[in-house]
Symmetry: C2
Subunit: 251 residues, 2 copies
DNA sequence: CGCACCGTTGAGCAACATCAACGGAGGTGG
DNA sequence: CCACCTCCGTTGATGTTGCTCAACGGTGCG
């Protein structure tokens, strides 16, 4: 099980209250990103006061549910959140997996209700931002507004990536490379990580049968692309995997 | 090569001054929507001065191209705009068809470049909004900010609708019902309309082969769901078509 | 008139889903 | 600690949707 580097266990104390309010949420990439967008200290203080730390959530606990009234967006600080919808036939459609530093709930603004469910896959910590208040703040802080615009704009693009019509191999490669890059962006190892979701979840996300997911992964292993022991993944041939994923991810 | 085509300014008269500033852009649903969001007259005036009317564009003329520097979003006033990307293998991926009242370019904010191409399918008229300026204005007009947030939030959801794994029939039904509703929302007939795009475009959008599109449409016709003569569509059995589309559209 | 493109139709095929069965891991209660 | 159970992941056999390849009629245009 404990085969070296894995998901968010490297995260020591979450609220490292070192006395400096600017770094109080240093593990919350939302604040970090705002800083890098050029937001100044006092602005970050304003942002700081309307944040609400949530968690830890246990696997299976929901952050919000489809139809709930929209009130807040949330930044994942630790763990993985799965967003999904249940279609009229009762089948689950996974919309995405959200890693530390990523923001959920942006798709709920439009009709003031969450259009999907969000559930913790492992132990999850969140920063919750009241949306009316962060929007109000954004009118005073152009850089915050800019950051929110960018976040939403990005989500539009991400949603259409996996909408393409690609082979099972390409989709799986893109899934693995996508995870790898997003983890790397947060300081985790891009080569070794743990899948926090079941094969069924992956299958629902990639619009495939769980059996197909299993078969593709095993073939990737036979071909020397990856090494997979249950939920522990090691990428062995990043280049070939990336070239497979290229058609889906576009770079 | 890609930069020559951005927003041709064939119509330098920015303000069609008919005397009443509130209706100057009455065909531009963007302003209308802003009004309905509670924006007042003077706010609309502010919006009004930074709009730039573009067009008419001829079929095949591009509004922007993939990789172009992002500078503006645009609201379609008349005609249909197709957004698409060319994947590394040279295959076209249609992202969407944009009807009067809809806004394009929102997915370009994230990395300051348009991630896709936008081309006129018929004669197209646009309202162009400099994004830096409209964003600036949005800090002063909370209702405008709110409207922009909503537009983007909606696009996130729309992008994931067709990402699901559905049958050819369901996708086609959803496509037709979607068009019907969006046209109805702009005052056009929901039962009879013209397809402004080719079968190949539809196929690329629905991730199917053109042959499949053709076959499904013909079968819909045999089953009495629709009547189709080349690009003229008449929906005969809205209910059955909607029930087919339900799984995709979710309501 | 000739050409190019669009839409349609048919035949064969391939990718992936479905159905079925089984081994292993982890959790629970005795 | 063991017995049991359930869920997860894997593997094999079979089925079916929709793609590919091919051919053809219609329409618009130079």
């Amino acid at each position: 099980m404990s085969s070296g580097v894995v998901f968010p266990r490297t995260n020591p104390s979450i609220i490292a209250d070192d006395g400096d309010s600017l770094t109080f949420c240093s593990t919350c990439a939302f604040s970090q990103a705002c800083l890098s967008e050029g937001m100044d200290k006092s602005a970050l203080m304003d942002l700081h006061v309307l944040v609400e730390h949530v968690g830890p959530l246990r696997p299976g606990e929901h952050v919000f549910r489809e139809g709930d009234e929209f009130s807040a967006i949330a930044a994942v600080r630790a763990g993985t959140v799965k967003t999904y919808m249940i279609d009229p036939n009762g089948h689950e459609q996974v919309l995405g997996f959200h890693l530390p530093g990523e923001v959920i709930g942006l798709n709920a603004i439009h009709d003031d209700r969450y259009p999907c469910n969000a559930v913790a896959l492992d132990t999850v910590m969140l920063c919750r931002f009241s949306f009316p208040r962060i929007a109000m703040l954004a009118t005073r802080l152009p850089n915050l507004q800019r950051h929110l615009f960018k976040l939403m704009s990005r989500d539009i693009g991400v949603a259409s990536l996996f909408a393409g019509d690609h082979s099972a191999d390409q989709r799986m490669a893109a899934f693995l490379i996508g995870l790898s890059r997003r983890l790397a962006a947060r300081g985790f190892s891009p080569r070794r990580f743990q899948l926090t979701m079941s094969r069924t979840d992956i299958a629902n996300y990639l619009r495939q049968a769980p059996e197909t997911v299993s078969r593709v992964l095993r073939r990737f292993e036979r071909e020397g692309l990856v090494s997979i022991k249950l939920r522990d993944v090691e990428i062995l041939d990043m280049q070939r995997l990336e070239s497979l994923a290229l058609v889906v991810l576009r770079h």
